[in-house]
Symmetry: C2
Subunit: 434 residues, 2 copies
């Protein structure tokens, strides 16, 4: 059974704080192992990657075999059914269209002082995409990481995906091809992250690494950060559904379960202003759990981390929602648009009962890589911005320097940075001499 | 003497790689100490902060004394000369005007399938700004961190600045007041970062922490990352000047020295297509070093990490510049605008000989917090974006769900995520029944 809470309960505040603070994931401390792997790949390149791949993925390769050839990818892509291909292509097209709108604009203007100022965006030259292998291998994640990179203009996009015992998911390779991935390597773990960050004889280094992975991958990304850029280190998935009683309890139950089935550490929360509806949803969850394929995952998640919170009114729901700062927020209420406008902290909002969160995982268009663990208070989902960087621009005329230079000189002197001041003064002196 | 390199030299490539790879900073490993300090502040709040402030800053306070009162700030501000105040206000106004243009726009549109999609930006609710005390206390850094936060719409901006032995820089407090900082606390070090991240009885927690600091502050920021957002961990400053022979060697020398005087680990590089001009600049640097106030800092920086690189033509200069990915790039060449357009990786570009880098440190308008250590390949300077986060929005109509839902269901099934598929299917079934 999930927790049932009501804001009317005396102990609500402490129970709610406990829910917010619950540690849902116990990451094993693998940092020392990962440090050794990275050092090994830096020192020995391909040879280290090949040995570690033989050890962890039980796969004997030579350097030439690290990369999937175009013909191999052709072969795997041909195994995908026409229906799956069509679905992937529709998803890719919609994700591309959404992210194309995110492209920021350059600017350059002249101000009153005669100074020309602005900025220019440019894409990261080369990016690396980590894709997990094994059981949780998601072609949708390939689309969600690779398409924003390509929309941003990343020239070289290298993907790594481990193929334990040689097992390959053809949909993952098709997703890579549809997304415009340039290179695919059959490696994984910390060794793949190290190869992307530092390069080997076969794999050229990249400037930015994104994509989900296990504890080893997360630790490796943390370690190479600085040498390259990385995306967020995502925690287990979360959904908050705010629903009034005029909803089908089964729809809401399925939406809650669609997060719970990801991971035993996932968290699904319902907030409603009708206790009986909350109970009906909980009942519907139990019923669905009896037959759900992934009930061995979704059941523990719902029991251990799920919650049904009854509020006195929907204004209370918004306050609680902002405190949760959910990764996914689904609003199944009468005026969902209005409520969406009142929410401040959420990774993604799904507005209205006809917008199940699963739409956002695949074909909605917005990115499904979103801030977890309350980090929507200060961070955003993956976007084209993650593959762009901004260079600021400034150009002074002699007149502009004459207008604003003395203030710079003054501040430089106040900070005891004499050369800063002199670099301005030397130019002003020339102006005054001429 | 700095290094003199020429692309015509046989050993150039390896010398250039050594220059790029030079480890300029040896950060002491303070992580264990910092972990203890953070745990102490989490456990004991104000009491821990007060004890650590007495220990490290030799300053006995009680909880009520942690925060500067408005009257105290008034008193310090009154000590600032009219000229310094005017210079600070001009700088603030120009920084504000530049950053106001960075505010990104919200979007919401309906696509062909009838799906409404978009995003909304919102400010971080509360931000913390770290300001170093002691010798390198820079009011300009207060402006550069606080103004973007306030332009973004951050409601509560709390600043911490250590005051060792009670020493306060009035300009820092005036900069805070001009920037709209809401609270100022006289604490520093890892204990200040912990207080901002986790809160104490006196200091409410924030959602994002920015600002420079020593090795303890940097380690503390790394440790609280995740609980709160942080800005980049900046390394020592760098400048690359690309200059042709039609420049005053003394101007270029002063620009190189204005980075070198920051820090013995700073790096100043000149690239020129005229070896004699390069020598003339090096001579001018030596001459200025004889009298420069901070020659004890600038001299070692220039000797140990400075370089004068002669290229055969300016196209070579651009290639080398992109490999360096400098924090600051100054273009003192005939067609500086054209060259600026060809550069891909740089934190900030200063276009033309009338734009000394020092202008950008104070009054230009763009931010002076910029990516160091080659990270301009994948990251950007501080901006209003650092204090904003994006919530993505999606709203389906029944018709839109009917159009794109089946593809989502298909992909969910291919990923063995049955509940995802069922959450779409349940709604499609209702549509088909009706």
């Amino acid at each position: 059974m999930p927790q049932f809470l009501s804001t009317k309960d005396e102990g609500f505040e402490s129970a709610f704080q406990a829910l917010l603070g619950a540690k849902r994931e116990d990451s094993p401390d693998v940092d020392a192992v990962v440090a050794d792997i990275i050092a090994d790949v830096r020192a020995r390149g391909d040879a280290a990657v090949l040995e570690l791949t033989a050890k962890f993925d039980r796969l004997e390769l030579d350097a030439a075999g690290l990369r999937f050839s175009a013909a191999e990818i052709d072969g795997y892509c041909a195994q995908v059914s026409a229906e799956d291909r069509e679905a992937l292509e529709m998803a890719a097209e919609r994700i591309r269209a959404y992210h194309a709108r995110q492209m920021p604009e350059d600017a350059f203007w002249e101000d009153d002082a005669g100074a020309s100022l602005g900025w220019r965006w440019s894409a990261v030259s080369a990016a690396g995409l980590y894709v997990p292998g094994g059981i949780a291998t998601y072609p949708s994640s390939v689309l969600m990481n690779a398409i924003p990179a390509k929309v941003a203009g990343v020239g070289r996009l290298a993907m790594v995906v481990p193929t334990p015992d040689g097992d390959v998911n053809p949909l993952v390779l098709l997703a890579a091809r549809i997304s415009g991935v340039n290179e695919v390597y059959r490696i994984g773990g910390a060794q793949a992250v190290a190869a992307l960050a530092y390069g080997t004889e076969t794999i050229a280094p990249v400037d930015k690494i994104t994509g989900p992975g296990n504890a080893f991958v997360a630790a490796a990304k943390r370690r190479v950060f600085g040498k390259v850029g990385i995306d967020m280190i995502a925690g287990p998935s979360e959904i908050l559904v705010i629903a009034d009683k005029d909803n089908d309890p089964d729809w809401v139950a399925l939406d809650l379960l669609s997060q719970a089935e990801h991971d035993e550490s996932a968290q699904s929360i319902l907030i409603t202003d009708d206790a009986a509806f909350g109970q009906a949803v909980a009942d519907a969850v139990e019923k669905r759990l009896q037959t759900l394929e992934r009930r061995a995952v979704a059941g523990p998640s719902w029991r251990d981390f799920g919650a049904v919170i009854t509020v006195e009114n929907m204004d209370e729901a918004i306050v609680l929602s902002d405190r949760i700062a959910p990764e996914h927020l689904e609003l199944c209420v009468a005026d969902a648009d209005e409520m969406a406008g009142k929410v401040t902290h959420a990774g993604a909002i799904f507005i209205g009962a006809w917008t199940p969160e699963a739409i956002g995982d695949y074909v909605g268009g917005p990115n499904h890589v979103l801030p977890t663990a309350r980090s929507a208070r200060f961070s955003s989902g993956l976007s084209v911005m993650d593959f762009l960087k901004r260079t600021t621009l400034a150009r002074m005329t002699p007149e502009a320097l004459n207008a604003i230079g003395p203030a710079a000189e003054r501040l430089a002197i106040s900070e005891s940075l004499q050369a800063h001041g002199l670099s301005v003064r030397a130019r002003l002196d020339k102006l005054n001499r001429d």
